[in-house]
C-alpha cells in the first residue's frame, strides 16, 4: 500500500490549485498604485558603436516621464560574473563590465542602450521608437562564429579583449601530459567533433520586473521573475546600484518557469529600481516574447572535439576534449562556471577512467549571453562522452551496452575520486542499467525492428549511462574553484501557538512543487498533517537568506537546512516537555508527534508543546526563551551524484528523414525520493527538454548576428506529439551519504541524460539499415538533417 502522506507519498501538488485555476500571482499580474511603464530600446544590429542618441523628440511625446541611456549608468557598477576562472597560464579571465544599459557600443541584437518610462505602455513604446529613430549606430562587423572570433584579433566584441577570449582553461592541467601519453599509447582512439546546440530557455512566463521606491523611508522594493531573489538583491546592492542591503527587498512571487534563465540578474531589474527612485512611482517592465528570445541568457553552445583512447576490447584508457564555449556578448552571472566546473569535472562520467583532460576556451561573440540552462554544463559533458563511447563501440564492433558495462564503476569502488576533481560518494550504475534494459525490453528489440522494417521504417535503439554532480554546492570546494559566493542554503521553521508551521526557505519554487514536497518532509518529521505546514519562499524580507533554486539543489541543500532547523525545533520541544513532564531532558523521546518520557505513558503532543512555548505559564523561563522558531543554514560537504541509464527507441521515415521516438525509458538513482509523482514529473519535463534539444530546438544566428529563430514560427519547441509516454523508474536508489534526507536531486537529470540516447538511437537505426557512413549528425536531428545525412 503506497503511502498517502509524508515522505514517499505522491501527494498532489497543492500549488496547482492556484496555477491551474488562474489564481497564480505572477509579476505582471501585480498592479501597483501610480505605476508607470518602462520599455527598453534595443539594438537591431549585433555589433555597433553608438555615435549619438538624441532623445529630444521622444522626451516631448505624450506621457513620457523619463528617458535613460547608458550614460546615466556610466558611474554605477556592473553586473559581475559569479566565478573567477583562471586560464592555463595562471592569468585571470577577461572580465568586461556588463553595464545596466549599453554604453559606447552595442554588442548583440537586443542589447538595450536606452529605456523610456511613460504613463502607459503604448506611450513608452511609441517614445522608444522615437529614441531608436534618433540614435545613430555605426555598424561594425558582427562576430558570430567562435573559431573566427578567436582567430580575428582586430574585430573585438570588447575593445580591450584582443582575441575575444575570456579564458583558456585546462582541467586538470597537471593531467595533460599523462593524458597525451595515454592517448598516444592507446590501441584505438575514437575522435568525434560535435556541436552542442545553443538553446533558448523559453520559460512560459517572460521576464518581468517592478521597481518601487518609498521617498519617505528610502526603501526600495524589486518584484521580479527570479529563481534566487537573495542573489539578485546581493548583486543589485553590492555590485550594480550600491543600494544598502537593508534598504532593498526583492520579491519573486509566482514564477512561471526559469530553467536557469531566471537565476541571473538582468539590467532591466536595475533600470526599474533606478527609474522608481527618480520618479517616485512604481516602474514596471515586462518582456515581450521577442525580447525573451533575444535577451534571456541562452544555454549550451559548445563546439567540441572529444577523443577516447581505448583497448581493442573497449576499456577506456583516456579521454581528452577540446571545446570552444560561447559566452555571448557579456558574462552572465554563472556563465564562467557552467562550461568549466559544471562541465569539465563531469568528463569522466560514471566510468573508471585513469586519464582525463579537458581544455575549454570561452569566447565572446555578438550573440545573447550564454549561461546555465537545465543541466548546465553536465548535458554538454554527457553528450560528448556518451556519443563518443557509442562511436568507439561501433568502430571496435563491440556492443555499446557491453562497453559501458565494462567501464562503469562498481558499487564496491565508492567513494571514488575521479581524475577531474570529484569524489563520487555512492552509486550502483549496473543496477540502473539492468533496470533500464529490462523495462525497455531490449531483448525484444529485434522483433520490433522487423515490424518497423515491414512498415518501411528504420528502427534503432540508443543508450546513455549518465551521471551528474548537483546539490550545488560545497562552499569550501567552490571557493577554491573560483566561486565568489557560498552555495549553502537556509530555512526558518516557525511553529505557531496552535502548532501549525510556516517554513521560510531560501530555495525558490518556480514550478518544481516545493510547497508540496517540503511540507511532506516537515509533516513526516513532526508527524503532523501536511495541511498544517505552509512553505514560504521568494521574499527576502521574510526569509533568512538563500541561494535559490538551480543545479537540482533545493531539496539536497535547502531541504537539509530545513531538516536541521526541524532538529532544533524537536530539541527545544524536548526541553519544554522535560519541564512540563517533570523529567530529565535526556529521558524525553519524540516519536509519532509526541514528546514522551521513555518507559512511561507520560506524554505531551507536539501541539501542546507549541502552545506552551507561546503561552509559557508552565515553562522553564529561567533557562529557555519562549517561542518556537529555529533557523538553520546548511552547507553540503560534497556534491550529490544522481546517475542513471536512459534507453531510447526511434523509428526513422527514410523518405522524409523524420525521427519518431517510439519509447523512452529512464532508470534513475536519485537517492531517497520524497514524492514519486513530483519526481516523475521532473523527469518527464527534463526528458522533454532533452528530446527538444536532440530533435527540434535550433538557435541560429546569421552572419550578421541576426537571430533567425527569434519566434515560435522558426524556433521549435517539443510538443506533446513529439514525445512518447515515458517509462520512468527510480527504484534503484542508493541514498546520498552526506545529507540528512539521503536525497540527490532530480530536476536536471532528464535534460542531461536524454540527448545522447536519442542521437545514439538515430545513428543505430541508420547503421542497421546499412548506412554506416553516417557516424554522427549534429543536433537538432531535424528531418532535413537526417535525410541530408542519409544522402551523403
Amino acid at each position: 500500500m503506497p503511502k498517502d502522506h509524508g515522505i514517499g507519498a505522491s501527494s498532489k501538488r497543492r500549488e496547482d490549485i492556484r496555477f491551474l485555476t488562474g489564481r497564480g500571482a505572477y509579476t505582471d499580474d501585480l498592479a501597483m498604485q501610480g505605476q508607470v511603464h518602462a520599455v527598453m530600446v534595443r539594438a537591431n544590429v549585433a555589433h555597433g558603436r553608438i555615435v549619438s542618441i538624441d532623445t529630444s523628440a521622444a522626451a516631448a511625446m505624450p506621457g513620457v516621464l523619463a528617458i535613460f541611456t547608458g550614460a546615466d549608468f556610466a558611474d554605477v557598477g556592473g553586473n559581475p560574473a559569479g566565478w573567477l576562472i583562471h586560464s592555463r597560464d595562471g592569468s585571470p579571465m577577461r572580465e568586461p563590465k556588463r553595464p545596466v544599459l549599453a554604453h559606447g557600443k552595442v554588442r548583440h541584437v537586443g542589447d538595450a542602450y536606452a529605456a523610456v518610462v511613460a504613463e502607459t505602455h503604448e506611450q513608452a513604446r511609441d517614445a522608444a521608437e522615437a529614441v531608436a529613430a534618433g540614435t545613430e549606430i555605426e555598424e561594425l562587423p558582427a562576430i558570430v562564429d567562435m573559431a573566427g572570433a578567436v582567430a580575428n584579433a582586430d574585430n573585438r566584441v570588447h575593445d580591450e579583449i584582443p582575441d575575444n577570449l575570456c579564458f583558456d582553461w585546462g582541467w586538470i592541467e597537471a593531467n595533460r601530459d599523462a593524458v597525451d601519453a595515454a592517448m598516444k599509447a592507446a590501441p584505438h582512439v575514437t575522435t568525434l567533433e560535435l556541436v552542442n546546440n545553443r538553446l533558448v530557455p523559453n520559460a512560459m512566463e517572460p521576464r518581468a520586473s517592478i521597481g518601487e521606491f518609498n521617498p519617505g523611508t528610502g526603501d526600495y522594493k524589486l518584484t521580479t521573475t527570479s529563481q534566487n531573489p537573495h542573489l539578485t538583491k546581493l548583486l543589485v546592492c553590492a555590485f550594480v546600484l550600491g543600494i544598502p542591503e537593508h534598504k532593498l527587498t526583492v520579491v519573486a512571487p509566482d514564477v512561471g518557469g526559469g530553467f536557469g534563465s531566471k537565476i541571473y540578474h538582468y539590467g532591466e531589474e536595475a533600470l526599474v529600481l533606478a527609474a522608481a527612485k527618480k520618479l517616485g512611482r512604481p516602474v514596471r517592465w515586462t518582456a515581450e516574447r521577442s525580447e525573451s528570445f533575444l535577451t534571456d541568457a541562452h544555454g549550451r553552445d559548445h563546439v567540441t572535439t572529444i577523443e577516447v583512447g581505448a583497448t581493442l576490447d573497449g576499456e577506456i584508457l583516456a579521454i581528452r576534449t577540446n571545446t570552444l564555449a560561447n559566452v555571448g556578448a557579456y558574462l552572465s552571472n554563472f556563465s564562467t562556471a557552467t562550461p568549466t566546473f559544471l562541465h569539465g569535472t563531469l568528463m569522466a562520467g560514471p566510468y573508471k577512467v585513469p586519464h582525463v583532460y579537458v581544455n575549454l576556451k570561452a569566447v565572446f561573440t555578438n550573440t545573447a549571453p550564454v549561461d546555465a540552462y537545465r543541466g548546465a554544463g553536465r548535458p554538454e559533458a554527457t553528450y560528448s562522452l556518451e556519443r563518443a563511447i557509442d562511436k568507439m563501440a561501433r568502430e571496435l564492433k563491440l556492443d555499446p551496452v557491453a562497453v559501458r558495462r565494462k567501464n562503469l564503476l562498481t558499487p564496491d569502488q565508492f567513494p571514488y575520486t575521479t581524475p577531474v576533481g570529484l569524489v563520487y560518494d555512492v552509486g550502483n550504475y549496473q543496477a540502473t542499467l539492468d533496470k533500464a534494459l529490462d523495462m525497455a525490453d531490449l531483448a525484444g528489440f529485434e522483433a520490433r525492428a522487423a515490424k518497423s522494417r515491414a512498415a518501411g521504417k528504420l528502427r534503432g535503439v540508443g543508450l546513455s549511462t549518465w551521471i551528474e554532480a548537483c546539490g550545488i554546492a560545497p562552499s569550501h570546494l567552490v571557493g577554491q574553484l573560483g566561486s565568489r559566493v557560498g552555495l549553502y542554503d537556509a530555512a526558518t521553521v516557525r511553529v505557531s501557538a496552535t502548532g501549525t508551521i510556516q517554513v521560510m526557505t531560501g530555495a525558490h519554487s518556480h514550478g518544481q512543487g516545493h510547497e508540496t514536497v517540503f511540507a511532506q518532509v516537515v509533516a513526516e518529521k513532526l508527524s503532523i498533517p501536511e495541511g498544517a505546514v505552509e512553505i514560504v519562499h521568494g521574499d527576502t524580507s521574510k526569509i533568512p537568506f538563500g541561494m535559490g533554486s538551480y543545479g537540482s539543489r533545493s531539496l539536497a541543500v535547502c531541504g537539509s537546512a530545513m531538516d536541521r532547523a526541524l532538529d532544533k525545533i524537536i530539541a527545544k520541544g524536548k526541553k519544554i516537555a522535560a519541564h512540563m513532564l517533570e523529567a530529565a531532558e535526556g529521558d524525553i523521546t519524540f516519536e509519532n508527534g509526541s514528546f514522551s518520557v521513555a518507559g512511561t505513558d507520560k506524554a505531551k503532543s507536539f501541539g501542546e508543546i507549541a502552545f506552551s512555548a507561546y503561552v509559557p505559564h508552565n515553562y522553564p523561563l529561567e533557562t529557555l526563551e519562549p517561542g518556537l522558531e529555529e533557523t538553520a543554514f546548511y552547507d553540503p560537504n560534497n556534491f550529490t551524484y544522481p546517475a542513471g541509464a536512459y534507453l531510447c527507441e526511434v523509428e526513422i521515415d527514410p523518405d522524409t528523414g523524420k525521427v519518431t521516438i517510439c519509447s523512452f525509458t529512464c532508470a534513475d538513482d536519485f537517492g531517497n525520493v520524497m514524492n514519486p509523482m513530483v519526481v516523475e514529473g521532473q523527469v518527464h519535463g527534463g526528458v522533454a527538454q532533452g528530446i527538444g534539444q536532440a530533435l527540434v530546438e535550433h538557435t541560429a544566428y546569421d552572419e550578421n548576428g541576426q537571430l533567425l529563430t527569434a519566434s515560435y514560427m522558426d524556433y521549435t519547441m517539443p510538443r506533446a506529439d513529439d514525445v512518447p509516454f515515458y517509462q520512468v523508474d527510480h527504484s534503484c536508489a542508493t541514498p546520498c551519504t552526506h545529507n540528512p534526507l539521503g536525497v540527490k536531486g532530480c530536476g536536471e537529470a532528464g535534460a542531461i541524460g536524454s540527448p545522447p540516447a536519442v542521437v545514439n538511437a538515430v545513428i543505430d537505426a541508420l547503421h542497421r539499415a546499412g548506412m554506416t557512413h553516417v557516424t554522427h549528425i549534429d543536433m537538432p536531428l531535424t528531418p532535413a538533417r537526417v535525410w541530408g545525412a542519409m544522402q551523403a
Partner: protein, 263 residues
C-alpha cells in the same frame, strides 16, 4: 500595435466602400494580420472586418455540383460542412493550424494573403477553383502570382470560392516543425478530364502545379506512376528548415503519398 479605426460592415457593398478609405485594410480571421500589427510591422488606419457579412459566410453546393464557400467562412466550418461534398478539401481545412486558428482563420483571408506555405492555395489551385470577388471571377490558374502576390486589386474582396469536386483527392502536408505550416504540401485531385497536382511550401514562386506529375498521373493514377520522375525543377525555398533539394524531394514523396491516400 498602433491605434486604428475599426469598421464592421454588414454588406459587401459597405465593405468595399470602407476599404476605399486611405490605408484601409481588410480583416479576415486576422491570423496573419493581427500578429503583424502587434509587432508594429503593419499599421493600417482602418481595419475593415469581413466577418459580419452574412452573404460571405457558409458552404453550399450549386447547380453545377461545385462546392461554394463564402470568403469569410472559417476553416473549422469548411472542415465540418464541406466534408460530405468534398472530403479532400474538408480534410485539408481540418489540418490548418490548431483549433484556435481554424475557428478564426478564413478561406478568403488565406487566399488573399497567399502565404507560400499556406494550405488553401494548394487546394484552390489543385482544384482549378474559381475565385469570385466583389467585381469579377478569377480562375485559380490566373490568381496566384508568387509569394504573397495575387491577382487581387487593392480593396478587392474575395466573396466566394467555387471548387469543382474531383473524383478523388488528397492533401499531404509535411510540416515545418516550428510553425507547422507546410514545409511541403501537395494537393492531388483526379477529375474526369485529368489530374491536377498543386504544391505549396516548396517554391520561391509560391504555390505551383507540377506539370510532369499531372501528365503521368492523368495517364495512370497510381503512386508508382511518378516513380520515374525527377523531383520538380524551379526555385525551391532553402532555409533553416530544409534545403532546396530536400524540398524538391519532399514534393515527390508527398505527391506519391497523396495519390496513395486518394485511393
Amino acid at each position: 500595435m498602433y491605434n486604428f479605426e475599426f469598421a464592421k460592415p454588414a454588406t459587401i457593398t459597405d465593405a468595399v466602400k470602407a476599404l476605399a478609405a486611405e490605408d484601409a485594410q481588410a480583416l479576415g480571421g486576422g491570423q496573419t494580420l493581427l500578429p503583424t500589427m502587434k509587432q508594429r510591422l503593419a499599421s493600417p488606419a482602418t481595419l475593415v472586418s469581413l466577418n459580419a457579412i452574412p452573404e460571405m459566410i457558409g458552404v453550399c453546393v450549386n447547380d453545377k455540383g461545385e462546392v461554394c464557400i463564402g470568403g469569410a467562412t472559417t476553416h473549422a466550418t469548411v472542415a465540418q460542412e464541406a466534408r460530405a461534398h468534398y472530403p479532400g478539401l474538408a480534410a485539408l481545412a481540418s489540418q490548418i493550424g490548431d483549433p484556435a486558428v481554424r475557428n478564426r482563420g478564413t478561406i478568403g483571408g488565406s487566399l488573399a494573403n497567399n502565404d507560400p506555405s499556406a494550405c488553401y492555395p494548394a487546394a484552390a489551385l489543385g482544384s482549378g477553383a474559381l475565385i469570385k470577388t466583389n467585381s469579377r471571377d478569377i480562375a485559380a490558374d490566373a490568381y496566384f502570382q508568387g509569394m504573397f502576390a495575387t491577382a487581387l486589386a487593392p480593396g478587392e474582396i474575395i466573396t466566394e470560392v467555387r471548387f469543382p469536386v474531383p473524383q478523388k483527392s488528397n492533401y499531404q502536408k509535411f510540416v515545418q516543425p516550428a510553425s507547422r505550416f507546410a514545409l511541403v504540401g501537395v494537393f492531388v485531385a483526379k477529375y474526369a478530364d485529368g489530374v491536377r497536382v498543386a504544391v505549396t511550401g516548396a517554391s520561391t514562386d509560391g504555390v505551383f502545379r507540377w506539370a510532369e506529375a499531372e501528365a503521368a498521373l492523368s495517364a495512370d493514377f497510381a503512386k508508382g506512376a511518378i516513380d520515374a520522375l525527377s523531383p520538380p525543377k524551379g526555385d525551391m525555398i532553402a532555409d533553416l528548415h530544409g534545403s532546396a533539394d530536400y524540398r524538391a524531394h519532399l514534393v515527390k514523396v508527398m505527391t506519391g503519398r497523396a495519390v496513395a491516400a486518394a485511393g
